[in-house]
């Protein structure tokens, strides 16, 4: 089955992973800007990173027939340094015209601090000013419920924001409902220990349906499985779910979200499956 991984950090993965993903049916990935495992010391460090995810990774992915999209921001962890964060935010517009950029992300909260909230709000303002889609990271463990609710509170300050162009990512059982009820997309991240498992993601699809719901691996430099989306496909099939429903989750939904970015060009290998579905 063709699929998209809408959240994966390919800068942290070896080229063999691109090949493995291609063999499993991956036609596109999207790569949010994130914490690289260490704090960068200057805005120029971020400029180099933005070049990597707007120029280098798309070329690497194309070698395996995979379309590569990206999102730009300063992540919540490094946002604790507000001065640096503001320098990075000022640099982001230099890269917003890159053809593979889908929007601003993954912004959000990490430890739910005042500085994180300040930088989060300033990046939402940046996205609104440039009419960009937004991908939002929610905290990992005990912070998740509180942080998710704080993020939703802050987003409510932007009544003109198109909720259908915003993803609340890393939802779990206790945070999915407020995200969906408010009209946002919700992303389920399949991780080996924290976040969601494939079986729990299937549970959430069965309970909440497929509308505005995404599934991703968030594969990165830590314990993670770049093949987590195929794991979800297998788990859904084992429960007897229809191929069409599974395909909506892993292919049509992410592409529908991506298409809300004005720069979006469909993955070359498959064109626009949404259009084919509509006309058939």
């Amino acid at each position: 089955m063709n699929y998209v991984d809408p959240h994966i950090h390919m800068v942290s993965r070896v080229t063999d992973d691109y090949e493995a993903l291609a063999r499993m049916g991956c036609v596109a990935v999207s790569e949010p800007a994130f914490w690289a495992g260490f704090d960068r010391r200057s805005a120029d460090g971020f400029r180099d990173y933005f070049r990597q995810i707007t120029e280098v990774e798309p070329r690497r992915a194309a070698g395996y027939g995979i379309a590569h999209y990206s999102w730009l921001c300063i992540n919540a962890k490094e946002a604790e340094d507000v001065k640096l964060a503001r320098e990075v935010i000022a640099a982001i517009p230099e890269f917003l015209s890159a053809s593979n950029v889908l929007g601003i992300g993954e912004i959000g909260l990490n430890k739910n601090t005042r500085n994180e909230a300040t930088v989060f709000l300033e990046q939402v303002e940046l996205a609104v000013r440039h009419n960009e889609t937004i991908l939002i990271h929610t905290p990992h463990l005990a912070d998740k419920l509180r942080g998710t609710r704080m993020i939703l509170d802050m987003l409510a300050d932007f009544p003109a924001l198109d909720r259908g162009r915003v993803v609340i990512d890393h939802v779990e059982e206790h945070t999915i409902r407020p995200a969906l009820d408010a009209g946002y997309w919700a992303g389920m991240t399949l991780y080996p220990v924290t976040k969601c498992s494939p079986e729990r993601a299937c549970d959430l699809v069965e309970r909440y349906g497929t509308e505005r719901l995404l599934v991703n691996s968030a594969g990165d430099w830590g314990p993670s499985r770049p093949a987590a989306v195929p794991d979800f496909i297998v788990a859904m099939r084992a429960r007897g779910h229809a191929e069409e429903l599974i395909e909506r989750m892993v292919l049509h939904n992410p592409l529908e979200l991506f298409s809300r970015c004005r720069r979006y060009v469909p993955p070359p290998r498959i064109g626009n499956p949404l259009q084919r579905t509509t006309s058939s």
Binding site: N112, T113, A142, L145, R149, E173
Partner: protein
Amino acid sequence: MTRALSDQRFLAIRSLVVELSAAFDRVERHAAEESVELDDDIRWRLLAEAVARLAAGPGRVEAVQELFSDAYEPAWRQTGGPELFGSPGCCGR
């Protein structure tokens, strides 16, 4: 055989329960060997409470997730701001 409790699903859940049981025994055994008082550890008390919530019926996963979560204060912006909500540094962070 229904999908609700197929043999495959029974074996998967059985495995999880056996692993959980062994993990609790393991922690207690090592605590005894190291003379550690587990009841003083908030993480152990949370785990014990989580297991108790498994017997509560439907809604278990939300109940367990909320147990492992810091409380959300809707008026957080009026009560001093998010610096109050920094991590206390326990529970796996």
